[in-house]
């Protein structure tokens, strides 16, 4: 028989029993819809998690801490110094290394002051690591300049207060009294701010110097990782450290460093290499993996619900087809006597199953898109937040899921139809002759 004739015959056979066919298709629609929506939710959650970390720009960044813990929990010391930074830079897959050169300072402006966490960076490195400026330019350092260039963290200007009265530097309307145009001075000597409270001047005490600051920019608030830092040129920080040995904690090397990998794929191998050098490493990928693990569990559960629905649908298909074969015993006998080949009979019934599967998948997909749109609407109105879901996620149905859903539906139907089709094929031609 020609393919089209087979298809048409199969379709007519279904069409003759419209209601039953539709009910059977309905079972599949429910099953496919639940599976597709569940998977789409899982994909959406995973995507939202990934996007979140991606937006922090930190998926390719490895945090390195000095020293490491051996397997029995003992701390093994290993400092991060310029040599190790150079070693990190030599690891394949590393784009840049940012030694965390921290300096804790005090900034005064008139009678107000605030604390400052200063990070010493080179302009190029800062860019690679995704420091973005709300305004201005990156700080530079030139030996002998009369002031030090600085970029403030986004909240510095709002955090000035009077050390004597604890009054915050705002006017009656709540506007900050300190602006970009205020004059700033940097010092590391607490006594310069609070005065000498113990009344006794320590032996050989020389008050810490004040340094003039030139505010060249403000960091953007989008720097999730670094937003509490104010930036100065690395050499400026090194020089200030040297000049204020008495007031700053003189550390050897760096407390930590950050490594930026070229792509996410290198993160694992770079981490391995750095750990082998004797350091402890952290990566946001750890968290993503954890999140993925969680959504994977969720999806497995959701998928199981859909699978049960599909199983029921599959049994429904089998039942419908067995019934229709019992009803059509005589008809099958007749077409066998008329010379319909066994293969054609099997194909005809399998096609009926496939048609059920196809329409079940198609309508299921349509329903899935509808459900997905509803979920997204609900999420957009903040419904997900009320449910305690951390990230606002969207239900997404990528093309492969859509195609896969229809295909899967057809496969399920095909498998359910296999036994009935074989039964139909084996029916005796004699059934047609007997008059009951």
């Amino acid at each position: 028989m020609k393919f089209f004739d087979l298809l048409q015959t199969a379709f007519l056979n279904l069409w003759r029993r419209k209601l039953r066919a539709i009910l059977t298709v309905l079972g599949l629609v429910v099953g496919i819809t639940s599976i597709v929506v569940m998977i789409s939710l899982g994909l959406g959650i995973e995507k939202a998690t990934l996007d979140f970390y991606e937006s922090m720009g930190s998926l390719t960044i490895i945090d390195v801490q000095a020293g490491s813990y051996s397997e029995d929990g003992k701390y093994v010391e290993k400092k991060i110094d310029d040599q190790s930074i150079a070693a990190f830079e030599g690891v394949p897959g590393v784009q840049a290394v940012l030694p965390m050169l921290n300096l804790y300072g005090l900034v005064t402006s008139g009678k107000y002051f605030t604390n400052l966490q200063i990070l010493g960076v080179d302009a190029g490195t800062a860019e690679t690591f995704g420091f973005t400026l709300a305004e201005g330019a990156m700080p530079t350092y030139s030996r002998g300049a009369r002031s030090y260039e600085i970029v403030f963290s986004p909240w510095v200007l709002q955090s000035f207060y009077n050390p004597k009265t604890w009054q915050v530097a705002v006017d009656r309307e709540g506007n900050s009294l300190i602006t970009k145009n205020s004059r700033f001075r940097l010092t590391f000597d607490w006594m310069n701010v609070y005065g000498n409270q113990s009344m006794e001047t320590p032996e050989g005490y020389t008050p810490g110097k004040f340094y003039r600051l030139e505010l060249v920019g403000v960091l953007s608030e989008e720097n999730y990782n670094y937003s509490w830092y104010s930036l100065m040129a690395k050499d400026a920080v090194l020089r200030l450290m040297k000049e204020n040995k008495d007031f700053v904690y003189a550390q050897e090397g760096y407390q930590s460093a950050q490594i930026k990998c070229v792509t996410m794929d290198e993160v694992a191998s770079v981490r391995q290499a750095v750990m082998e050098l004797g350091y402890t490493t952290y990566s946001a990928l750890d968290m993503v993996e954890q999140a993925q693990e969680q959504t994977r569990m969720l999806r497995a559960v959701l998928g199981a619900i859909g699978a049960v629905a599909l199983l029921v649908a599959a049994i429904g298909i089998m039942n419908t087809m067995m019934m229709s074969i019992y009803e059509r015993t005589r008809e099958i006998g007749i077409i066998k006597v008329l010379g319909c080949r066994m293969g054609n009979i099997v194909t005809m019934f399998l096609m009926e199953a496939l048609l059920i599967g196809f329409f079940g998948g198609l309508f299921g997909l349509g329903l899935s898109y509808g459900a997905s749109a509803l979920i997204n609407l609900w999420m957009a109105r903040g419904g997900g937040m009320g449910m305690g879901m951390g990230l606002p996620f969207q239900s997404v149905i990528p093309l492969y899921l859509a195609a896969g859903g229809v295909l899967f539906s057809m496969v399920v139907a095909l498998i359910s139809g296999l036994y009935p089709a074989l039964r139909a094929m084996r029916l005796s031609a004699l059934a047609a002759i007997r008059n009951e």
Binding site: K2, T9, I334, V337, L338, G339, C340, M342, N435
Partner: protein, 236 residues
């Protein structure tokens, strides 16, 4: 009678049904030869094995013993798939109870067996229309079985059996469900068409009058051939 080609050669054919622990011998050694173009009528009492013989010859049932050779091929050694292919090529079948597809029109019913042979729709309909004309139903092409009389339905059945140009046409009590006059007309139709096209017709009946349409009458009794005559009742 001049020398004719043997189309169907049956030797010592037997068929035994086992019902519970009892063997029922429906056929007990039937031997006969049928020439190409002959029209043969098998008669006999109810339960004598007529239908059984016909079904065996059409390859609808397996033999218990003996052999059937049709056009040089051993029917009793074919697999079910081969039997279907054999029927597709060589056999047309007319049923007592018409067995038309109720949801198909006369034309679609007649064209149906051609679809099994992979024929294109246009040729199918052309052939079907042609044969329906021959059985005198050119005005009822678009009628469904329920909209036709028994005689008309059986004409559609005959057209369906003949549309594939089979060498062998089997008919098991083709007039069994028709009244006397209609049965006569239908018999005339089927015999005329088969004779004109040189087809071999083997039919079963227990109506002696119907048997008179055939060239040859074989009488079965209790699973054996008891009489085989070039038609003694011939009156036409």
């Amino acid at each position: 009678m001049e020398e004719k080609e043997v189309l169907l050669d049956v030797r010592n054919l037997s068929k035994t049904y086992r019902v519970g622990s009892v063997d029922i011998h429906a056929l007990r050694g039937v031997t006969l030869q049928i020439q190409k173009g002959e029209s043969v009528c098998i008669i006999g009492r109810s339960g004598s094995g007529k239908s059984t013989l016909l079904n065996l010859l059409a390859g609808l049932e397996r033999v218990s013993g003996g052999e059937i050779v049709i056009a040089g091929k051993r029917l009793d050694r074919m697999s079910e798939g081969e039997l279907i292919r054999f029927r597709q090529r060589h056999v047309g079948f007319v049923f007592q109870s018409f067995n038309l597809m109720p949801y198909y029109t006369a034309l679609e019913n007649v064209a149906f067996p051609l679809a099994f042979r992979g024929m294109a729709r246009r040729e199918r309909n052309r052939d079907a229309k042609h044969i329906l004309q021959e059985v005198g139903l050119e005005t009822h092409l678009r009628h469904k079985p329920a909209q036709m009389s028994g005689g008309q339905q059986q004409r559609v059945g005959i057209a369906r059996a003949l549309v594939t140009n089979p060498e062998l046409v089997f008919a098991d009590e083709p007039t069994g469900n028709l009244d006397f006059a209609t049965g006569d007309e239908v018999m005339r139709t089927i015999c005329d068409i088969c004779k004109a096209a040189g087809r071999t017709l083997i039919m079963v009946t227990h109506d002696a009058h119907i048997a008179s349409f055939a060239d040859r009458v074989i009488t079965l009794l209790d699973g054996r051939v008891v009489e085989d005559s070039s038609n003694p009742l011939e009156e036409k």
